[in-house]
């Protein structure tokens, strides 16, 4: 059973919330993490498909992080990253080693591998050279927290740990109501709005039809479907997490009113945007800054780092043409916007809208960004018949 995929999951979560709430009155505050670890392990082992694969990844990543950061002490983190991401890279690149009697890929591939790899790498990148490894229960909870197990939001270890440290204190009436409201919102988004769009709008026209109007219809329908489906899932994860005492980060913040690509990634899949910014864009930008040929061209190095970051985002979804192309399109959007902002600053005026009324500029920007995002996500969906 996958999280939030059926009614039984909600019944299990209700049980988990009840156990955590009851434990608050009988278990010491410092032991919250063990209760959480027990529940997460229970869910993995009893109902999750391929549970031991996930457990094996957690043990592997814990041991590998310890090995590369405390035993070998690599000066450059890239070697450690490659070791930690090895399982995901083998699966995504579809590299198969057929050792009879088992195939390595079957052992490595399971639902949730990508998001777990993101979190594993995030922890390794944030870990200071002299920082001690966390206790295994906290690390296990960070990777296997049931509501965020499958598709995020992508939490940071420090944020998760501080939330876990005050786990029992976080369980109170106010947080319960906030969590409940987020859960209800998520249920309405995913099981009503996304479902209705999927049934009654997304499949009105044949996806392989090359008529412009049919393609436009499919494009808008897919954008709305993806938003409601994914934001619904994230809200449910946030709600259940809150009721269990863990503050899960917000992942969607009304992306339809975004005015530019930068604003869009602060509203759509926020945790992925932050992850890419912290662990890929910033190091890449600093790397280019050290290169002599880019020293005099800050705009060029920003734009190249932006395009490469979004290309990586595309590749992470899978090495398929539609994913990579949509990443490239988002990268080009960001590079164009970055150039526009730099030019505006240089010339001291808006080089595109001129002296147009700010309110009009805002609404035109929202309209443009909505359509650009819908187009890029339509390419992402793989439903565009022109590809």
């Amino acid at each position: 059973m996958l999280p939030f995929s059926c009614l039984e999951f909600f019944v299990i979560m209700l049980g988990f919330i009840a156990i955590v709430c009851a434990a608050k009155y009988v278990v010491a505050s410092k032991n919250y993490k063990y209760i959480l670890a027990f529940l997460n392990a229970l869910f993995l082992v009893v109902v999750y498909p391929k549970p031991y694969h996930f457990l094996l990844l957690i043990i592997f990543s814990y041991a590998a992080t310890y090995f590369v950061s405390e035993v070998i002490k690599f000066n450059k983190k890239i070697l450690g990253i490659l070791i930690l991401l090895l399982p995901m890279l083998l699966v995504k690149l579809d590299i198969r080693f057929g050792f009879y009697p088992f195939e390595l890929n079957n052992l490595l591939s399971f639902a949730g591998l990508s998001y777990a790899s993101f979190r594993i790498m995030g922890y390794y990148m944030d870990k200071a050279p002299n920082e001690k490894m966390p206790d295994f229960a906290s690390y296990f909870n960070y990777l296997a927290f049931t509501p965020t197990l499958l598709i995020g939001p992508i939490d940071k270890f420090s944020r998760f740990k501080s939330s876990q440290n005050t786990g029992f204190e976080n369980i109170n009436t106010q947080n319960f109501i906030i969590g409940w409201n987020a859960l209800i919102k998520g249920i309405a988004f995913k099981y009503i709005f996304a479902e209705v769009i999927d049934r009654y709008w997304l499949n009105v026209y044949n996806p392989s039809s090359k008529e412009i109007l049919h393609m436009a219809n499919n494009m808008y329908a897919y954008y709305l479907f993806l938003f409601f489906d994914f934001a619904g899932y994230s809200n449910m994860a946030l709600g259940v997490g809150k009721m269990m005492g863990i503050n899960v980060p917000v992942n969607f913040l009304n992306p339809f009113v975004a005015v530019n690509p930068q604003d869009f990634w602060r509203r759509f899949h926020i945790t992925l945007g932050e992850w890419l910014r912290d662990y890929f864009f910033t190091p890449l930008y600093l790397f280019f800054s050290r290169m002599s040929r880019f020293k005099k061209h800050p705009l060029a190095r920003q734009n190249i780092a932006l395009v490469l970051t979004f290309l990586l985002m595309g590749c992470w979804n899978g090495f398929k043409f539609n994913f990579i192309l949509s990443g490239l399109i988002f990268g080009i959007y960001s590079a164009i916007h970055n150039t526009y902002v730099t030019n505006c600053k240089k010339k001291g005026k808006d080089v595109f809208f001129g002296n147009l009324n700010p309110t009009a500029v805002k609404y035109i920007s929202i309209f443009i960004m909505f359509n650009l995002a819908a187009f890029a996500l339509y390419i992402f969906s793989g439903r565009c018949p022109l590809l």
């Binding site: 996958l2 999280p3 939030f4 995929s5 699966v91 591939s109 399971f110 639902a111 949730g112 591998l113 990508s114 499958l150 598709i151 009436t173 106010q174 109501i177 906030i178 209800i184 249920i187 309405a188 995913k190 099981y191 009503i192 996304a194 479902e195 209705v196 999927d198 049934r199 009654y200 499949n203 993806l226 489906d229 994914f230 899932y233 899978g318």
Partner: protein, 49 residues
């Protein structure tokens, strides 16, 4: 976050009841819609493996 007004209480009750009603309508076996299959991001993730 306490519900302080009776009006808010009834609005919430109406909202939750309608959500429950719509979910029942969409997912009841009596709903014989040909598109009655959930395709979600969860399945999208799962299908990759």
């Amino acid at each position: 976050m306490k519900i302080n007004s009776v009006k808010q209480f009834f609005i919430n009750m109406l909202l939750y009841t309608s959500i429950a009603g719509v979910i029942y309508f969409l997912y009841t076996p009596l709903n014989k819609n040909s598109n009655n299959k959930t395709s979600s991001s969860i399945q999208f993730v799962y299908q990759q493996f």
